[in-house]
Amino acid sequence: MNPESQVAAEPFIPSKPMAMLAGLLKAPASVAAAIAGDKGAPNTIALLLVFAGLFHAFFGFAVGLFGGWPVAGVAALKSAAIAYASLVICLPSLYVFSAVGGAYLSFRQTLMLGSAALAMVGILLIGLAPVAWLFSVSTASLPFMVVLTLMIWFTALMFAIRFTGELRAHEGFQRPGGITAWFIVYVLVSFQMTTCLRPILTRTEPGQGWITGQKQFFLAHFDSCFGYQK
């Protein structure tokens, strides 16, 4: 056995923002150790949230170019808003689901885990933003863009789920099944939040503001996206 594998990952104490991002990307086990040990610096959560918002906004801008520059600017704001609002709505369920699943997190740990997962999704979205941009400026098909955006987002989510699995190496967190199940809730809430803040990729109808303001469920909204012609 490799002796290094027996050494538990040192808790990652972020002091500089870039070092923290590097930790999420290159040593997620260390960030997981910091969460499990509740050893993050006081500004850790705030920094993770700021970066998560910026990354989501950048990705939103890239896909929003499908609808032109004004749409891209609004899509950047909406993407960050979707990420933040979905996390806020889902934080109570992350707290309860993790505990019921057998991995009890304090509220601060819950917040740190949620922020880190969001930042991890954001990092992956940044990595795939050039791909999204390439297609957003070279297609007129909204259904294609919707499918592409969802594929990219789900890919990023898979890595966030994988990151939460790193908690398994720590005492008291061997059963993170509740946290994995929580991602289903997060996905559904994000879909509905996207519907609530629609349209993301296209202009609103004349006379409307940035959002349509009409109530609709996400299944009906995504269904309508597939009948749209630019």
């Binding site: 689901f97 505990a99 019921v100 809430v189 109530k215 469920f217």
Partner: protein
């Protein structure tokens, strides 16, 4: 010894160990009940909120009532069955296991209440065509069924864990659990049928209970209407 629902959530194994040692009293049972009632009431208020504030208030009363009334009806049978299977559970311990699992269910319902509320305010229209209202009703109904199912499964999974810790060696835990689950489901379905409406159809007037709630039972409806209709291909 006092264990709050918060401690039950944080460390279930410790809760069951303390319960097995007989260190939990009636005050602990009351503490769990005092958590279950507002927990279910809050979710109940959200559950019917899309239909009307009045129905929201009614369901805030009816959902805890459904849980507690079902427990009240099956608890003596649960205790007798546990005794017959030599589980070594007192009546108080029987109630404790059931109330603890209900508390876990209530935790899940409370945690998902903001999600449910968000779906309600962002997706369900207050007015619209029949088709729009029917779609909204079906979507809300499906959402709540899923949430209640998840909460119920989590609660009963906790109950199984608790029984495994608390019963005497040699007691068939699986049989005891399935019997308790089956009895609760059998009675719970009928209780829910009597106490309907919960989600509230937009095509019926708002009422605390339907006027015909005692005319026939849930199983008459399923075996007399639903299954024959399915077998006829919906004709």
């Amino acid at each position: 010894m006092s264990l709050s629902p918060a401690k039950l959530l944080a460390n279930r194994n410790n809760f069951w160990a303390v319960a097995r040692d007989g260190r939990l009293g009636w005050d602990d049972l009351l503490a769990l009940a005092a958590f279950i009632v507002p927990g279910c009431a809050i979710y109940g208020a959200v559950l019917a909120g899309w239909r009307s504030p009045v129905l929201s208030l009614y369901v805030a009363i009816k959902l805890p009532l459904l849980f507690l009334a079902t427990t009240a009806i099956v608890s003596v049978f649960n205790w007798m069955l546990a005794s017959l299977l030599r589980a070594g559970l007192s009546f108080k311990a029987t109630l404790l296991v059931v109330f603890a699992s209900m508390s876990i269910t209530s935790w899940i319902l409370l945690a998902l209440a903001p999600v449910s509320f968000f779906f309600m305010i962002s997706g369900a229209p207050a007015a619209g065509t029949d088709s729009e209202l029917r779609y909204a009703h079906n979507f809300m109904l499906t959402t709540h069924i899923l949430i209640l199912a998840v909460a119920g499964v989590a609660g009963y999974a906790a109950m199984l864990g608790g029984l495994r810790t608390m019963v005497n060696p040699g007691c068939p835990v699986g049989l005891l659990f399935v019997a308790w689950l089956g009895t609760s489901a059998f009675v719970g379905c009928q209780m829910a049928w009597i106490l309907r409406p919960f989600v509230g159809s937009p095509f019926y007037d708002v009422a605390f209970m339907r006027p015909d709630c005692l005319d026939r039972n849930f199983y008459e409806f399923v075996f007399g209407d639903v299954i024959p209709n399915l077998l006829r291909g919906g004709l």
